[in-house]
């Protein structure tokens, strides 16, 4: 795999969330309609939560990959990592709030956190459904991860993994040289452990991210094509495909600006604004927890340092479910990414 550095390590201007927001709010040579005005026209502004049921936790920004579209700017050089003390605060919040039924673990590569397995075991003891956003290649990256499929199976973890396409060129172009072959091998190992196989109940879901400045095609059609092609070419089975729109944040934002696609992409998102998707955006039922315990409306707001607008509950240590449930969700121009076309969330499209 070709070694690349994060924007942060490169001291890149767009490593700063302030600089990213400036591009999003001011554009490069023209302005876009405000996302908040679009919501207002749908009588959705200010955006409020529905019932909060998903507790998404970023356990660290360290990753063995440096994908070109990564909104986290994750990579091997990122040192931010959730401590066991902060994980304990997560467990305390979960124990006290039974409505938080799903815990969605993300990163970086979540498995690189030294307390990852301890955290998973304790969440499962609380009876919560656990999703791990596994980048697949981590399983083969070091012998200490070779048994991850068995660990996932033992704890009935749902595995969600990015595979930008069922061909090598598009996948490696987005996620790095060699990622496709390693991902295919890892998927075969997960299948061997029972993941994605009929009647095991072991969920293996894949994520499609467009490898460029365009929106995803229809999820249902793409899922059929992925299933046919992955089975035919590699004997791989999986449960669902989530088609996710790339958000104009961090490395993907850098790509858009450098390649001259920023205006066109943002115009595309604005033109594709779908009120039905706006009603079902993931921030309405999710709280996103940063590696340091700070609270956000979603993973994207987290990366832009847009904390929850809930003065007395901005950190796990001051968690107040009632206050969070009645907060105003913070929106900005990047939110067009979640409301374009069929909509986009960590679970794929949000409209049928």
């Amino acid at each position: 795999m070709k070694c690349m550095k994060s924007l942060k390590a490169l001291h890149h201007q767009l490593a700063s969330s302030t600089a990213q927001i400036a591009v999003l709010e001011n554009g490069t040579d023209h302005t876009l309609p405000l996302f908040s005005d679009k919501l207002r026209a749908e009588e959705l502004y200010p955006l409020r939560p529905s019932e909060i049921t998903i507790f998404q936790v970023n356990v660290g920004k360290m990753c063995n990959q440096v994908c070109k579209h990564c909104h986290v700017d994750a990579g091997p050089d990122r040192k931010e990592i959730m401590t066991r003390e902060t994980m304990q605060l997560c467990l305390d919040v979960l124990a006290a709030n039974p409505s938080l039924q799903t815990v969605d673990l993300t990163g970086g590569a979540p498995e690189l956190n030294p307390d990852f397995r301890w955290f998973v075991e304790n969440i499962r003891q609380l009876g919560r459904h656990v999703i791990v956003r596994c980048n697949l290649t981590i399983i083969l990256s070091n012998k200490r991860f070779f048994d991850l499929p068995q660990f996932f199976r033992e704890h009935r973890i749902e595995v969600v993994s990015s595979l930008p396409y069922f061909t090598q060129d598009r996948t490696d172009r987005q996620r790095g040289d060699g990622v496709f072959d390693a991902s295919i091998r890892a998927l075969q190992l997960l299948n061997e452990a029972g993941y994605g196989m009929p009647d095991t109940g072991l969920q293996l879901n894949l994520v499609y991210n467009p490898a460029g400045a365009f929106l995803p095609p229809a999820q249902e059609t793409l899922e059929k094509e992925y299933k046919t092609e992955l089975l035919k070419r590699f004997g791989i089975s999986f449960n669902q495909l989530y088609a996710i729109t790339n958000m104009p944040i961090s490395r993907y934002l850098d790509y858009l600006v450098v390649s001259g696609n920023y205006e066109q992409y943002m115009d595309k998102l604005v033109r594709a604004f779908n009120p039905a998707a706006a009603h079902s955006v993931m921030c309405r039922n999710t709280i996103s927890v940063g590696w340091d315990g700070q609270l956000y409306d979603c993973d994207f707001n987290q990366m832009l340092d847009l904390e929850v607008a809930c003065e007395n509950s901005r950190h796990l240590s001051t968690w107040n479910m009632a206050a969070l449930q009645h907060r105003e969700i913070v929106v900005n121009q990047h939110c067009y990414g979640c409301t374009a076309g069929a909509g986009s969330s960590c679970g794929g499209t949000v409209t049928k």
């Binding site: 460029g212 365009f214 059609t221």
Partner: protein
């Protein structure tokens, strides 16, 4: 008046043709939308056909639109270029096959 014939930004103004004849424009866009839906052929297959035809009719707007659409729908660069070659082969063949007419006429007027 503009001093050029093609402007990429005009593609986004396509629907504005309704300004001069709304009823026919609505019928065209309604029919167009139906044509490109999944049916006996998939929307993905239709996109590649559209890309090839775009080259045959040499419409720069259509080439832009269907290059993006075909790539977005998952066709590779190689497959897209092969589709262009198919269009080119048909165009080339179409010109050449008229050579038979030329031969017929030449022979008809020859001693």
């Amino acid at each position: 008046m503009a001093n050029h014939y093609y402007d990429a930004a005009d593609l986004q103004k396509f629907t504005a043709i309704g300004e001069y004849q709304q009823e026919l424009a609505d019928k065209f866009f309604g029919w167009y939308g139906e044509v490109f839906k999944d049916s006996a052929l998939t929307a993905k297959e239709k996109s590649l056909i559209a890309l090839a035809v775009s080259h045959a009719v040499q419409c720069p707007y259509c080439i832009d639109a269907y290059s993006a659409d075909a790539f977005e729908k998952g066709w590779s660069e190689t497959q897209m270029m092969e589709a262009v070659h198919v269009a080119a082969a048909i165009k080339g063949g179409a010109a050449l096959v008229h050579g038979v007419q030329m031969m017929n006429k030449t022979k008809a007027i020859s001693m």
